[in-house]
């Protein structure tokens, strides 16, 4: 089968690889129909996530048709077209039982901090991902969810990560009706988070980024205010204070993570020297621009090593910091409803369609923000 193949920082290709096999009675093999490249794939692509091994296949956002099932699979059957949540979750461990499917304890041997994630380095379990013609999907009774009748697979594939992560970012922000929310980062997740803030009753939503085309997109898609931190302001923290009557925002969402721009020291220590878990510029801004007693919600991905985080300010300001990988499975029923009722329109985020054979070009385009790319979708030879 054809699959994306990681060869080293900023070097990937499509290669023939062996077919995946059933390894556990609850496994399914899925023929992938749609797969996305995600902003967090860029951390892998740039070589910033430890234990990203040459020869692995990325891709944690995919849907596909069930081709084969293990003997204990009862919830899906061969021929079902399913959404595959990005987390690998057993559904029965201590954490899954609390709805924390993003924190499953039975899907990752290599780390105890993070659960299993498809195509996301050996630190996240060493699974091959869905940027391939076929993928092995463990715990097929738990994660995979049949795409409802009439739903466009382009909408469905974004329910694997972008929509639930954006939604959970807004949920974790603890928004009260009328609250002012600031979202750092206008990538697909930041845009989705801004859109979802309204569902929790926000009174004002502000998104901050440095790419004008993304801000324009966010303004239209999420109906929010959008500002460029390089052009519209000297200092984002002061800007947020000024625009909130010098109080600070009620809630701030960090949808940037380790690839943040905007601070030279952070770029050098975090992104070039890898001495901390990526550049934490956005997190600094979030902690410093939220009001006292406010909530900071983090969904931007940070690496596992040390961080130069202003933790003293977290204490001094009595902040609540909530952060997690989205528990996709927990949120799917509600989000499917919202998509079917036209409240969230995920597929409008997709700007590019790239054949699997040209995956290297897709990564380059997305990483270098070429051609106003918001969200690239990988399409497969057998189209459905």
């Amino acid at each position: 089968m054809l699959a994306m193949d990681y060869r080293g920082p900023k070097r990937v290709r499509a290669t023939q690889k062996p077919m995946p096999e059933i390894k556990h009675p609850q496994d399914a093999i899925v023929r992938v129909t749609r797969s996305c490249i995600c902003g967090s794939d860029l951390h892998l692509y740039n070589g910033n996530v430890p234990d990203t091994r040459v020869g692995s296949t990325f891709g944690h956002e995919f849907c596909g048709i069930v081709e084969e099932v293990g003997p204990e699979v009862t919830k899906v059957k061969v021929g079902d077209h399913v959404i595959v949540p990005f987390n690998v979750a057993c559904g029965e461990c201590h954490f899954c039982k609390q709805g924390m499917f993003g924190n499953c304890h039975e899907s990752n041997t290599q780390s105890s901090a993070v659960g299993g994630i498809f195509g996301y380095s050996h630190t996240a379990g060493g699974y091959n991902g869905g940027q391939a013609e076929y993928a092995r999907v463990p715990y097929a009774n738990v994660g995979p969810t049949v795409i409802p009748e009439g739903m466009d697979p382009d909408d469905a594939v974004l329910l694997t990560d972008v929509v639930p992560t954006g939604y959970q970012a807004a949920e974790m922000a603890g928004i009260q009706p009328g609250d002012t929310v600031v979202v750092f980062g206008a990538g697909p997740v930041g845009i989705m988070a801004a859109r979802c803030c309204w569902l929790f009753g926000a009174g004002r939503v502000i998104i901050i980024d440095k790419e004008d085309y993304r801000l324009e997109f966010a303004r239209n898609y999420a109906n929010c205010e959008a500002y460029n931190f390089e052009k519209d302001m000297d200092d984002p923290v002061v800007f947020v204070k000024k625009t909130t009557d010098f109080m600070g925002a009620d809630c701030v969402i960090d949808a940037v993570g380790a690839e943040a721009a905007g601070n030279a020291m952070q770029t050098i220590t975090g992104r070039k020297l890898l001495l901390q878990a990526g550049s934490t510029t956005a997190l600094h801004w979030a902690i410093n621009s939220v009001k006292k007693g406010g909530v900071v919600s983090i969904v931007g991905v940070y690496g596992p090593t040390d961080n130069l985080v202003p933790i003293g300010n977290v204490l001094n300001k009595g902040l609540t910091i909530r952060a997690n990988q989205a528990s996709v499975k927990r949120l799917l029923p509600r989000l499917i409803d919202h998509v079917q009722n036209g409240i969230i329109k995920p597929k409008e985020l997709i700007t590019h369609r790239i054949p699997l054979e040209e995956v290297a070009d897709g990564y380059r385009m997305f990483a270098a923000k070429l051609d106003n790319c918001i969200k690239p979708l990988i399409v497969f030879p057998t189209k459905i």
């Binding site: 990937v12 029965e92 060493g126 309204w198």
Partner: protein, 175 residues
């Protein structure tokens, strides 16, 4: 660029998921209380057989019930990774060797390609085609810089000491 928002209450779905009981700890509060879990050590019945070399964090006693097998450790990078897994996840001794192993692994990948008679097409793997299509000026500048630096380095390394000496002598002569 228009930056004023319409009345938020007229946006489709406004406040649909708002919960007046909500506080910043939602949804934790509505989740099962951890201490009430009668069987917190419960594991799935079936376990994936360990038939490949699997590196295991020292922060858990057992192998998780399922695991991925994308790329088992091999070669020198594998040795470094094995070493890294002697340390906990809260230790630099774990993460820094892993990052080093990743870099070594890249070289191993090229050697493996060559050993299989495949010369990797770096230009294609780096996706330079789209860079050329959409970002030409920056791309040309980048490539020219690389070429210049490479040429400079080659000239410097292959400089003939003897010729240098002769050139110096000639310049003396001119004076």
């Amino acid at each position: 660029m228009e930056n004023t928002v319409k009345d938020p209450q007229k946006l489709p779905g406004w406040g649909i998921d708002a919960n007046p009981e909500n506080d910043p700890t939602y949804p934790m509060r509505e989740r099962m209380n951890v201490s009430q879990d009668p069987d917190s050590k419960h594991r799935p019945d079936a376990l994936q057989p360990v038939d490949i070399e699997l590196l295991k964090t020292i922060e858990r006693p057992n192998v998780s019930a399922v695991f991925g097998e994308a790329a088992p450790p091999t070669g020198l990078s594998g040795m470094i990774r094995r070493f890294a897994f002697n340390y906990s996840e809260s230790h630099y001794g774990h993460w820094l060797p892993l990052l080093l192993a990743d870099r070594v692994n890249v070289v191993e990948g090229v050697l493996e390609d060559l050993a299989h008679g495949h010369v990797p097409n770096i230009f294609a793997e780096k996706g330079y085609k789209v860079e050329w299509e959409h970002n030409r000026t920056a791309f040309v500048t980048k490539m020219a810089t690389i070429a210049l630096v490479t040429t400079g380095a080659i000239l410097l390394l292959t400089r003939d000491k003897d010729k240098d000496y002769k050139r110096k002598k000639n310049s003396y002569k001119l004076r």
